[in-house]
Amino acid sequence: MTKSKFIIHYLMLNKYSYLFAIVCIFVVNYLQVEIPRYIQLAVDLLNESTTKSKEGLLENVQWVIALSVVMVVIRILSRMFSLNPGRITEAALKNDLFHRLNRLPSTFHEQYASGKLISIINNDLNGIRLFYGIGFLQLFNILFALSLTPIWMWRISPQLTMYSAIPIVIASVIFWLGFRKLRALHAKRLIRLQNLSEQLMNYLSGIDLIKNQQMSEWVTNEVNRVNARLFDCTMQIAKIQTFFMPILDYANHFMKVLILGLGGYYLLQAKLTIGQITAFLSYSVLLALPLMHLGRIATVYQMGMISIDSVQSILNNEVPSNDMLRMSDAEKSSLQGSTLLVQNLSYRYPNATGENNEWVLKDLSFSVESGEKVGVLGSIGSGKSTLVNCLNHHLSLDTGQIFWGGKDITLMSRQDWRSYVRTITQDPFLFSDTISENVKFGVKQQGQGADDLDVDQVLELSQLHEDVQRFGAGDQTLVGEKGIMLSGGQKQRLSIARALLTPSDLIIMDNVLSAVDYETERTILKGVFNRIQGQSLLVVSHRVSALEYMDKILVLEQGEIIARGTHAQLLESCSYYRETWELQQHETETAA
């Protein structure tokens, strides 16, 4: 979306509100210039003492008061209907951004630190809110005030109107010079604020290490440096704002002096009345206010533009079009319990360059039949995790490599694909909620309600049940941020429980039992086998023990499948497999 399309898109969101506001703003501004006219008439009647003039004076005063009351009411409406859209747009954008961030693939999230994204949503949306709210209001206020007021002034005295323009023109030139400088500074400041935010976020997440290694001083110095850069920029802005920008405000007072001097001269020549000078003085205020607001709107505008750029840096990342296609229920159920077929799968990371640009996966082909249990053995760097991230389509793939029931998975939306495949990752992420809510995570999506019985059952299967019962509040225990209250093994077992809660066709376990001991590992695997009898299972591990009972084992080394077969077959045929097994077996013998 281009910037102008973006602006228009969100303007249209509140079009009726805006239209009504424009009408109200016009009426308010019209009344604003009408009222001084009645004041002028009243003042000019002050020097006469006839009964008729007294009546006329009273009538004019009544007009002033009545119109003022009407103006109050309409002004309330004008402000509500022009400021509310700012808030509504802010809320809509927040949801839109969240929606987009949730759906953007891994390639996007690797580029943007979460601190930066949060700063955009928290800080930049303020700029956009002001742009769509107060910015809109002031734009039309200024537009109407600056067009109506001079006309009313002109009617009184064209010459005086012309001369009054002089201080305004001079002030405007100075103001705009300052404004241009400010524009650049505001952009700079926003970036520095983002830097600070990212840096703090980073240190806060490593707080334990920082404390234990006594790095407080170093870290404080780093923060001090970034903080100082922010401060410098803030004060540069303050300097311009205090020394240059008020010039427009003062232009009003200079105008008053001009009106009194020059107007006085005309008065002495009987070209003007004292009432007209009074009205002129009132108009000078009406000109000054919008001019002051011009400064405000200029700031709002420039911040809005910067913020829109920031927000667009997220929103211009399109969700892959295939992810927007959703399958029909019929198609969905027809693909249930299908076979996973991997054909000549090769992968290399797109941002790797030069020497590093090697194929991480080379020409892999295998299948996982419905209900089959397949193991993948590989050491670090063999491409295990990359394979998992290809299979679940976390990484962006070329077409024609992975098929589910004959359908290319890259041609279906990721969301649909993941209703078939469930991945239990090495680094499970937990929300700071209760254990029960964490287990139930994602259930609503599947359109199924999980009752507490199910939760109990899967907790038992994943051998977490006992631990949970020892917690004070059972499965209502809060796990803390990122599950800090749980140990690594507990987290892994919780994520297994999470995956087992709702049925899926293929479960992928990516080295998930690394932080639990062997007995627990075996019990869990046994439980998983029982629970998912009809479902396919793919276990990735560097431990032979976890794979021994699989129907089929693939041995992955440097991105290639160097052997495949059952445990017994591989012991015969594959020396790498045998050596690994023996290395791990050897320890057992000496231990026993």
Partner: protein, 588 residues
């Protein structure tokens, strides 16, 4: 207008601002000049009209006009310096507060982080301080200036003509009452907006950190509906705020013209009777904006100050949050220095511990002793309390019951900074700085030479893979080390522990996700460590366990068996069961 608890919150701000008294005083000195110029102007207007325009006398008019111009210029300069100097003071105070808060945050106990999402702490340091720097400082500056000016103008008006001034004063009470009412409503709204914003931000952050999990579980819509709830709450409160804002603003703007009408109506009789001159009447009409415009701006100034109070409240929470070493009687570091140069021994005597002082005990009656040069292995199922023991030793968690003696001194009475150099901790979660590899190993300690960094890397067999990186030891890590693999990150953190050279190595499930080949290399390195250093290890690896002088078998926070490898095997209890039960156990 401002309640006393609010003022409480400000004391920290003024404490930091008072460091820049000089700048503030210069700014404040500009104030009387500005006020005087502000009053001189309407007085000159009266002179122009009554002395020259009404009687039709031209001579001397231009002198008065020139004088008016001079008054304006002086006013401009005084105003600018007032605002600039005080803003500078405010910004410097905010700068210092941010640093003070950050330093304080570094001293908060682990329990604070357990209960507070990082996003909340982050928004204290960024958006809350932003609000104070902008809303509060600017709000107070204009509020003070406007109040003094308004008061001065009112006094001036009484001086010129008390009847007309009284008339203006009549309008004040209803306006002030309205302001007060709206102020209270707005305050309620701001509390709601701040809290729904904080909740939304916290949740947003979690979803971003866990975006992979969200996507792999197809939970996009589930988290969205929750997030929409927060946004909706925030929006509703904001719309109400707008309504109050609009009403107040419009009424106060309208009051000016209504009052002008009243003044002319009332003043007309006086002018005719010759009591009030035309100049005074016109000056009054023109000065009204100086009374009412500030009165209107008060609301927005108060609104922004109000916003800042919520921020102050948050900041205050951080200032009163108990520090790690608060309320603990610590021995003075000087007396300890000599005793803590080298590690001698560590003894647990009947130690019990539970998180936050409530709930079940995660450690129950744990006793053991570790002497210099010995190795201790902690064995047990997950959740048995192994990690807790290490966290208590490093003083990450305090408040244990029983007694822990480090070199014979009670651990709870030792200031953390005097003992941390003894320990080198390898945690489960690897944290990497966004600096180069060299820094991540040396952690910026000057005494660790380049050779030492390389040595440490070689020691853990990380050297080879580092040489394979584009700029080797200068390779810059991004995004908390996302441009390294998990195994590589662990090797770096391992090298870091070695380079930091603590006398007691604490290994916490260090190599759990390293493959067999790499792991066998690391085992050799650990073997070397075991010969040279004092080690406490949480380990599943048989080699680690076997070479330990002492093994603690833990179950649900209790030590169930204790002794050397051979002794425990001979017992034929839990430990030997763990080993012989299944062939799988020892492959790790």
């Amino acid at each position: 207008m401002i309640k006393s608890p609010d003022l409480q919150y400000l004391k920290h701000f003024f404490h930091y601002a008072s460091r820049y008294k000089k700048t503030a005083v210069i700014g404040l000195l500009m104030m009387p000049i500005s006020v005087a110029a502000n009053l001189l102007f309407p007085w000159l207007v009266i002179q122009v009209i009554d002395e020259h325009l009404t009687p039709g006398k031209y001579a001397g008019l231009m002198v008065l006009i020139t004088f008016m111009l001079v008054v304006l210029v002086v006013n401009y300069i005084a105003d600018a310096f007032y605002t600039y100097c005080l803003r500078l003071t405010g910004q410097k105070a905010v700068f210092d507060m941010r640093m003070a808060l950050f330093e304080r945050i570094l001293k908060l106990p682990r329990t604070y982080y357990d209960k507070t999402p990082t996003g909340v702490t982050l928004s204290r340091l960024t958006s809350d301080l932003e609000v104070i720097g902008e809303s509060f400082v600017l709000g107070v500056l204009s509020l003070v200036k406007d109040s003094i000016n308004t008061l001065a103008v009112l006094i001036f008006m009484f001086f010129i003509n008390w009847q007309l001034a009284m008339l203006i004063l009549l309008v004040f009470p209803p306006v002030l009452m309205l302001t007060q009412y709206v102020r209270n409503r707005l305050r309620e709204m701001y509390a709601i907006t701040r809290s729904s914003l904080a909740k939304g931000t916290g949740f947003l952050q979690e979803c971003l950190l866990g975006v992979k999990t969200v996507q792999l579980y197809g939970a996009e819509e589930e988290v969205e509906s929750k997030y929409h709830g927060y946004t909706e709450d925030f929006l509703r409160a904001q719309l109400k705020t707008n309504k109050y804002d609009a009403t107040l603003f419009s009424i106060i703007t309208g009051i000016t013209s209504i009052t002008i009408g009243l003044i002319i109506w009332y003043g007309s009789g006086k002018v005719l009777a010759g009591v009030v001159s035309l100049g005074v009447l016109i000056a009054f009409i023109n000065t009204l904006e100086k009374v009412f415009v500030p009165l209107r701006d008060f609301t927005s100034q108060i609104a922004s100050i109000q916003r800042s109070f919520a921020a102050f409240e948050h900041i205050e929470e951080l200032f009163v949050e108990g520090l790690e070493e608060d309320g603990r009687t610590l021995l003075p570091p000087e007396t300890l220095k000599d005793k803590l140069i080298n590690f001698e021994s560590l003894e647990f005597k009947n130690v019990r511990f539970r998180y936050g002082g409530k709930g079940p005990y995660v450690l129950d009656d744990v006793s053991f002793k570790l002497n210099k040069g010995q190795q201790l292995a902690l064995v047990g199922t997950t959740g048995s309390g192994k990690s807790t023991i290490i966290r208590i030793m490093s003083k990450t968690y305090m408040d244990y019951e029983g007694s822990i003696l480090l070199n014979g001194i009670e651990l709870s009475s030792i200031p953390k900074e005097t003992m941390l150099h003894l320990f080198s901790l390898m945690q489960q979660d690897v944290f990497l700085f966004e600096q180069n590899i060299h820094f991540n190993i040396s952690l910026g300690v000057d005494e660790i030479s380049d050779e030492a960094v390389v040595d440490a890397a070689e020691y853990v067999y990380a050297h080879d893979f580092i040489l394979g990186l584009p700029s080797q030891y200068q390779f810059e890590l991004k995004n908390s080390g996302s441009n390294l693999s998990a195994g590589q990150a662990q090797l770096i953190s391992f090298a870091r522990s070695v380079a930091q050279g603590g006398q007691v190595m604490m290994l916490d499930e260090a190599t759990s996700s390293v493959d067999s080949i790499t792991e066998s290399l690391i085992q050799k390195a650990i073997g070397r460590l075991f010969e040279e250093k004092t080690v406490i290890a949480i380990a599943h690896r048989l080699s680690t366990i076997r070479h330990s002088d002492q093994i603690l078998v833990l179950n649900q926070g209790k030590i169930v068996e204790q002794g050397s490898h051979q002794e425990l095997l001979a017992m034929k209890g839990v430990y030997s069961g763990l080993l012989t039960d299944d062939a799988n156990i020892a492959d790790d």
